[in-house]
Subunit: 524 residues, 2 copies
């Protein structure tokens, strides 16, 4: 058995049975080994950012890591932005980067570069395997690091000769981690619990801000019940990795992207209880505006940090407050009417709210144009909402790929905007190749609209035409229907609300992927 | 004057008047300043890899650096692969990466990451500017580092508040570098010169291997004259950054990509004289094959290394050998007939050889299908040939963008393959937006053909269908004509040699960009 075979067998034995890849020559033995270990589902991407973003989306929905396979330092570079997003999502990823053979390094061949240095930026664990016999053990340590908690990117650097050499062994399930059981996170100290409970009982205005594990399942129900019982405002972080929402689920308002609105959401709050999230800060800094969004005089209580045992922390707080999770408020079912008239961002979101099927997964990178989507879908059948955790655009389509593979049988909607779609458009080809049930809603306003807003917000004095021109995607205008068709997908283009609703309805009920391009005016 | 204005003025004052950008919020003051300093030509890219590759192509043709403008760590990540190629090309690049405001760093906001660590991998110089008043001086130091020699990537990290704050000053042309005059490189010691001269006079089989500065202008003429006068084989490195060739220029054979062929090219060579290139090594390692391609018993003479004064070294050797550069052999003009019949990779290259206009620039990322291109164009009118210096695919189209802007008035041909085009396809939109005279020849064989070859070459035992499937781009098949049209370009698709020749002829003589997709069988 060679190293590649041993590595893939080890991964599969421990539940990592999906690999998103864009391989090159140094990864050819890994690729060849796919015929020996057929339990590994390998998914080809045309660009590394698709592979890494898909691994993130997969982990968010499957709750376990996928592997990636990237080609040397440049391949890692191409995958870096979505590994950044995965890091911010606390998604477990086993990130495998092929390298030159160990014997080849000293020649500084054309593709040689310092992979470890680049990987360190996004990884909690970086290791270059130097020996075929140890590869299986290396994989188990990487897997343990990836699983956490919290989940993280663990990078294995795999020299070609370590991969191709004979002498591979497969460690059994009794390796360092066992089959995908992470360590147990910390539970809060009693005084933290007491302080949080006292704050929520104090009668002073309070808010609970949730993220991570607190946005799904029993933890969400429990924290929502606590908020309701204590009259506390419940908020989610701006971009949670996965938020369960819709009819029958606790309604949760997300913190706004714009600090001006966040200030309104947190106005008068004297106690802020954080559950698996960080204290709120503005996305960017602006001249003469604070970065820290906690109101003056507000006390911050950190009930659980990423990696803690969030479920236990929330239950302990509920017990202390004598709150039962079954008392959580539930969102009533309510879907908007089909929109009519000219197509706008609002009409697109309204149609989405009207048609979103049960158990859908929304990968949200709608940016400015998607602003109305959470409101329009609040009472839609229960669904999951996946956000741009790290702020690096080009995540939405890859995450949709991974979510569809990680949660088969569920409809995925990629709510996508023209500016962000163009970073990782190659995702569409993988959707077609794998026959994924992903419907892309492409909001085309012919601009980097968010930047037009930011250009004003940063206080730049009266931006001139040359600046505005750098944010304009309309010359030449981009035809996403043609781009989708060119990459092998069925696609349609809508210019009225009625057209859009009809095309979206067809796309959502037809198996396989398709794209509906919505031509809309910019909001800004 | 704010920092951004001072920075742009400083760059423009020192000849850096082109900036390839994909900005975000933290770069909005730089963008706003474009209306204050209108001498800076700003070129928008939809993806950072387009911007960095364009800066590389620009430098190769203009002989001076362009600037880039990238958005934080993820933007740098997206640009990293082509910065790797630029590094290998010794192209000078002033790589500007926007960052959060210095006051914002400690909050670890969503887009925060360690930019310096990532930049270090591709840069000879990395510096985070901490003060508005020092920004101009920082730019001059970065520029000096970029210009070298040898040219290199110099990364300036520009925090948003350093950019937006008032107090910027512009240092005059008497700054550390003056207007783009690099330091002078070293000349060879006399004993190195003597040894090289003795080797070439020895009567033993010798070869001269050139790269970098030795591939253009007077240095090329001189070294070709030396080779001819001493009966020495003249070879260029596999992927030179810029090779001047065609009718009336010295003919130079390039070292093969495949080590098996390189071995034939170097067979029997007892003396290898290196001029601005490294000793030849195989691109990748293969089981049981040597990485070092220098034949046993061959002595290597390093006449000039990257960064040395290559012109002086070559002239000194010519003087010692009493060779006049005017005696360099010259390629006779000869163009192939127009191809007929079924369209193949060979027919495409033949048509290119027949139609390539004078002073054309070929950005070559044709990979396997482009194999016949150097032969078919050897006797075409004089032109420049730009190669995949670092081996990171996704370079060809961005380099074509930069070459067209760096050498206005010349026709650029991007010889591109389906697999590699898909990494940085967004380049086409920038070509359309800027109205660049770039003709893309897209060789579509529906596969990663080079990897099918490599899968066999690495000695993987009888690759199976699951492995082959990872190299197959045909399911679904990709329609590049639609992709080009969707991005705003005129495009055509050819399936016979006659069709292709006609479309290529039209594309080469029509102002502005267009794409000719050639549907060909895979060579492999």
């Amino acid at each position: 058995m060679n190293g590649a075979q041993a590595l893939i067998r080890t991964l599969v034995d421990h539940g990592v049975d999906t690999c998103f890849m864009n391989p090159g020559t140094s990864e050819m033995h890994f690729v060849a080994a796919l015929d020996d270990v057929t339990a590994m589902h390998s998914v080809l991407a045309l660009f590394e950012g698709v592979a890494t973003g898909a691994a993130d989306g997969y982990a968010r929905m499957a709750g376990r890591p996928a592997a990636t396979l990237l080609h040397l330092g440049p391949g890692l570079g191409n995958g870096l932005a979505n590994l950044h997003n995965a890091r911010r999502a606390y998604s477990p990823v086993v990130n495998i980067v092929g390298d030159h053979a160990t014997t080849h390094r000293r020649y500084d061949a054309q593709l040689q570069s310092d992979i470890e240095t680049v990987a360190r930026n996004v990884s909690t664990f970086v290791h270059t395997s130097e020996s075929t016999v140890e590869l299986s053990a290396d994989a188990l340590v990487a897997l343990a690091a990836a699983v956490g908690p919290p989940g993280s990117v663990a990078t294995m650097i795999l020299p070609a000769d370590v991969s191709w050499s004979e002498g591979g062994v497969v460690l059994s399930g009794s390796g360092p981690t066992g089959p995908l059981v992470g360590t147990v996170g910390a539970v809060p100290d009693e005084d933290v619990l007491d302080a949080a409970a006292a704050a929520l009982r104090s009668g002073e205005t309070a808010a609970i801000l949730i993220g991570g594990q607190a946005c799904t399942g029993r933890a969400l129900d429990t924290i929502a019940a606590i908020a309701a019982a204590t009259g506390t405002k419940l908020l989610a972080e701006t971009f949670p990795a996965r938020l369960e929402r819709g009819a029958g689920r606790p309604p949760v308002e997300r913190l706004a992207y714009l600090a001006e609105f966040t200030a309104l959401q947190l106005e008068g709050v004297r106690h802020l209880v954080l559950v698996d999230t960080k204290s709120p800060v503005s996305f960017f800094a602006y001249p003469d505006k604070p970065s820290d969004l906690v109101p003056d005089g507000c006390t911050v209580h950190r009930l659980a940090e990423p990696g803690d045992d969030v479920g236990a922390a929330v239950l302990a707080l509920a017990e202390l407050l004598e709150v039962n999770e079954r008392t959580a408020p539930r969102q009533a079912a309510a879907t908007p009417a089909h929109p009519t008239g000219p197509l706008t961002a609002q009409a697109v979101c309204q149609a989405l709210g009207a048609l979103l099927p049960e158990d859908a997964i929304v990968s949200d990178e709608g940016n400015t144009s998607g602003l109305f989507a959470p409101g329009a879908t609040a009472g839609a059948p229960p669904h999951d909402w996946l956000c741009l955790t790290g702020g690096a655009i080009g995540q939405g389509l890859p995450v949709a790929v991974g979510a569809a593979i990680g949660a088969p049988g569920r409809r995925v909607v990629a709510l996508e905007a023209d500016g962000s779609a163009l970073y990782t458009l190659q995702s569409w080809w993988t959707m077609a190749r794998e026959g994924l049930d992903v419907t892309t809603v492409l909001l085309n306003n012919h601009s980097y609209a968010v930047l037009n807003m930011e250009l004003d917000r940063v206080g730049a004095d009266s931006p001139g035409p040359r600046a505005r021109d750098m944010l304009d995607l309309g010359h030449p205008s981009i035809n996403f229907m043609q781009l989708a068709t060119g990459l092998g997908l069925h696609a349609a283009r809508a210019e009225s609300a009625e057209e859009f609703t009809e095309e979206l309805g067809r796309a959502l009920t037809t198996p396989g992927p398709s794209v509906v391009e919505a031509i809309i005016p910019s909001l800004l």
